[in-house]
Amino acid sequence: MSVRDFFIKLSKIDRKYIYLIILIGLIIPLVFPPNFPQKMSPQVKRVFEFIDTLPKGSYVILSADYDPSVAPEVHPMYKAVVKHCILRGIIPIGMTLGVQGAGLAVEAFTEAERVLGARRDTDYVFLGYQAGGAVVILGLGEDIKGVYKTDYFGTKTTEIYALKPVKNYKDIALVISFSGSSIPVTWAVYAYTKYGVKVAAAVTGVSAGDFYPYIQAGQFIGMLAGMKAAAEYEYAVNQILKERNIREKPSTDAIRMMDANSIGQLLIILFIIIGNIGYFLSRRRK
């Protein structure tokens, strides 16, 4: 068989072999992590540095507007930002506009309690889910405790110590919407445009392209996009943990998954090249 025939045959290979190669390509780096270097990309740096330079005692709303389908990408970001806030003495106010986000956010705050010894209602608050989407965003601009009468665990928000000085967006330094859909745009339109609160987006890699117009217009201060951003943010937070000599083993979920993701993406590039070589050779034959 000539090289030409080989490539033509390869370009018509059964898809199950492609699935098998991708599977192997993803599993090997998960079992034997190659630990590729992490370098913070410009958008991630903007969000990280914004939070890093906030005065202690500032408030940041972390809206878990995602569901389990995009959790592998978005959830590590949520966990890393929660830890970052708590490590810097900033109080994260967790909430969600999507009913499924509540369980994931609870898990992130539970991890912060275990790793950092964070205390509920003092170091962080979790308000939970509220139906209404854009209406909730607008309502928070008037009175946060009016929209959320109780937090996720049933405590009256008027009795939560950490929320005592908080009335509305005027007391919030930043809102980050974590999502696999266009909800961050709703935050930009209603929270930033109407009330002027700073907003950032934490989204899946596939939807990242949709949010660049809002970054350029200044409606988002920055964006965490996809698994890569999650890995970069996680790595940066782990560096802070190391500096503080916190003994608990740091989470490396995003870093490990990003290594596997990288191999997967390189395989896709390789597949496209092989497919095109076969396509060209078959065209020349015709």
Binding site: I18, L23, A71, G132, E142, F271
Partner: protein
């Protein structure tokens, strides 16, 4: 009478509320603010009621399908799962160490994440078969795709200025096309909103 309740009253309500809320936006008087606050409370209450409607619709749909042999097992699982989660949530609560949270973390999260992860396999197969250089535009698209795909891997960090190149592609050519779409959509939304408020667009009440 039916026409009055199904068409005329909803259209009149949308017209009146639409005009009031448009004027309210430009009036900074405390009365105007009160109208706004009240409308927010109403909207939240209506949003919550949508869930009640959704549950009724879900149960009606699956109860009907129980009579169909082909779909009955799936509908039965749907109804049982729904009922079980509601009961577990009401009885044991939804706190972080509750059974509800455990089921969510150990069943819902892996199931949904796995389903979505299958995309990786379909994408790789589609890229292998469909992504062909058939002309100049396809070549430009492919080169750009290669740079962005490679730049969004951690291996791309070995290449100097890779992050910046990807950032430029996303923030300049990508942004230009996206902004055009957003402006078009925005104008469409404004036009449709005006048509709905004025009662010209009536599809939402059945035409």
């Amino acid at each position: 009478m039916r026409h009055l309740f199904e068409k005329q009253i909803p259209l009149a309500l949308v017209f009146i509320i639409g005009i009031i809320m448009t004027i309210q936006y430009f009036v900074p008087h405390p009365t105007s603010q009160n109208v706004y606050d009240t409308s927010l409370m109403w909207s939240r209450a209506i949003s919550s009621m949508a869930y009640v409607m959704a549950i009724i619709s879900f149960l009606r749909f699956h109860t009907k399908r129980l009579k169909n042999k082909n779909y009955a097992p799936y509908s039965l699982v749907a109804i049982l799962s729904f009922t079980a989660m509601v009961l577990i949530g009401f009885i044991g609560g939804t706190a972080k160490d509750s059974l509800f949270q455990k089921i969510y973390e150990n069943m819902m999260v892996p199931l949904q994440a796995t389903t979505f992860s299958l995309l990786a396999f379909y994408m790789s197969s589609a890229a292998y078969r469909a992504f062909r250089i058939r002309g100049v535009e396809a070549t430009v698209l492919m080169i750009t795709a290669f740079i962005v795909i490679f730049g969004t891997t951690t291996i791309g960090n070995y290449v100097p200025k890779m992050n910046e190149i990807v950032e430029w592609i996303m923030a300049v050519p990508n942004l230009a096309s996206k902004r055009g779409i957003i402006i078009g959509v925005g104008l469409g939304v404004v036009a449709t909103s005006i048509k709905i408020i004025l009662g010209i667009e009536r599809n939402w009440v059945g035409g």
